[in-house]
Subunit: 212 residues, 2 copies
DNA sequence: TAGATTGTTAATCGATTAACAATC
DNA sequence: TAGATTGTTAATCGATTAACAATC
C-alpha cells in the first residue's frame, strides 16, 4: 500500500488534516466521522474518505475515525516521527528569522547550523549557533548527518549552492530563493516563493474590485 | 474578457511566467514562441497558449509572442502596476524579516507600518519605522489607505485580528499564522503555511527513501 | 506565397464528488 | 438486529494535452 504513487494533491492536504486532528485531539475529542470533519474543514466527506484510503483503512464502518489514531497515522505518513537534521544557508533576515522561529523542532526538524559567506556575519551568534563559512558546509553536512538544507540566499547564487548540496548528498532543499532549481532526481525540492504568493494575493484583490 | 472567471490553477502560474519573461527581457530577447518557452519552463506549449488565451490574444500567428509586451501584460493582470499599501502585524522574527526583506517594494507593495502588542517591541525601529501598538491599527489603516495586512502573529490571536481587519476595511490578508481564517467574502486571504510546506518536503524525502 | 505559430476546438487524463454495498 | 458510516466503485467535473484551422 505504500507503493502506489500518491498524488501531490493528496499530499498537499495531509498537513491540514494533521493540524485539524491535532486540535480535535487537544480538545479531548475521541472520534469523528468524515461528515463531521467535512463540516469543520470545509471539504467534502467524500474527499476525506478518498484521501485517507490512499493509505489503507484508518476508520471503522458505522463508527468513524479515532482522532488520536488518525492523527498519529498521518504524522507517520508525513514522516514526523523521524528526525531531520537541517541547516540554513543564508544568514540574512529570512534565514535568521527561520532559525529563531523554529518551533519546527517539535516536529522533528532539528536546526543544526547556519552558513553564510558575508564576512560581517561570520561568527555572529544566531540562536546559540555561530554563523559558519560556506566553505565548511561540505564537511559539516557529512559529519552531522544533515538531510535538509534551507536556502535563504539570493537567486544569483542559489543554483550553484544547490548543485554543491546535491553533490554532497543532501536529501531535500527547502527553497526560498526565487529561482527554479534543477537538481538530480532523488533530491526533493520544496519551493516557497513568497513574492509569487504576494502576487497571487494582489491579483485576487484587483480581480474582486474590478467586478470579478 | 476580464469577466470570465479564471481558475486559480492559471493564476498560480502567472507569477512564474512573469519571472521567466522578466529574465528573458533582461537578456535582451525580444520574441519567443510557446514552444521555446515550453522548453525553458518545462511546461507544455499547449498549456502556455491556453493560459495566455484566458486573457485574450497576446501573440501573433506565425511569429510568437513579444517578450516585453507579454511581460507587461502579465504584470498588469497581476495588478503589479498599482501600488498596494501594506502593514505587518506581528513584529516577531518573521514580521521583522519580512519588513526588512521587502524587495516587494519594486512590485508596488509599499511597507507602511508594523504593529505589535508586545510592550518590549513598542517603539523599536524596524526599517526606520517604529513598532506601533495594535490599538492604533484602526485609525492607521484608514488614514493611510492600507489595503493589505501581513499576519505574522501566533495562531491564538490570528482569528481575532483578522476579524478586526475585516471590519476596518482591509482588502487582503497575507496570512503566515498557522490557522485557517474565516473572513467575509470580498476579503482575499493568501496563506503561507510554512510548516505545511516543510511537512510536504519531509514526506517526499521519506517517500523517496522508502522506495516510492 | 510558403512557413511558422498562434488561437481554439476536441480528446484525454486526473481529480473530485456521488452513490451504495460492505460491515462494524 | 438496525443504524451508522466506512471503503470503494462509478459518475462527473475540470484541467491538461493534442490537433488543426486560422492567419500573420
Amino acid at each position: 500500500m505504500e507503493n502506489k504513487e500518491i498524488s501531490q494533491a493528496v499530499i498537499g492536504r495531509l498537513p491540514r488534516y494533521f493540524r485539524f486532528l491535532g486540535e480535535l485531539k487537544d480538545e479531548g475529542i475521541e472520534r469523528i466521522s468524515s461528515q463531521e470533519l467535512s463540516d469543520i474543514m470545509q471539504v467534502t466527506a467524500s474527499q476525506i474518505r478518498q484521501d485517507f484510503n490512499n493509505f489503507g483503512g484508518f476508520g471503522q464502518q458505522g463508527y468513524g475515525y479515532k482522532v488520536e489514531y488518525l492523527y498519529e497515522e498521518i504524522g507517520k505518513i508525513l514522516g514526523l516521527y523521524k528526525t531531520h537534521n537541517l541547516i540554513i544557508i543564508g544568514a540574512g533576515n529570512l534565514g535568521q528569522a527561520l532559525a529563531n522561529y523554529m518551533n519546527f523542532e517539535r516536529r522533528g526538524f532539528l536546526f543544526k547550523g547556519i552558513f553564510d559567506n558575508n564576512p560581517h556575519l561570520l561568527g555572529k551568534k544566531i540562536r546559540n549557533m555561530e554563523v559558519k563559512s560556506m566553505d565548511e558546509m561540505e564537511i559539516f553536512v557529512k559529519e552531522n548527518d544533515i538531510d535538509i538544507a534551507v536556502l535563504t540566499i539570493p537567486k544569483a547564487s542559489a543554483a550553484e549552492v544547490a548543485k554543491k548540496l546535491s553533490d554532497i548528498g543532501i536529501r531535500g532543499i527547502w527553497n526560498f530563493a526565487h529561482v527554479d532549481l534543477n537538481v538530480p532526481r532523488g533530491i526533493q525540492v520544496e519551493n516557497v516563493h513568497l513574492s509569487d504568493s504576494l502576487m497571487k494575493l494582489a491579483y485576487n484583490i484587483n480581480q474582486f474590485e474590478n467586478g470579478g
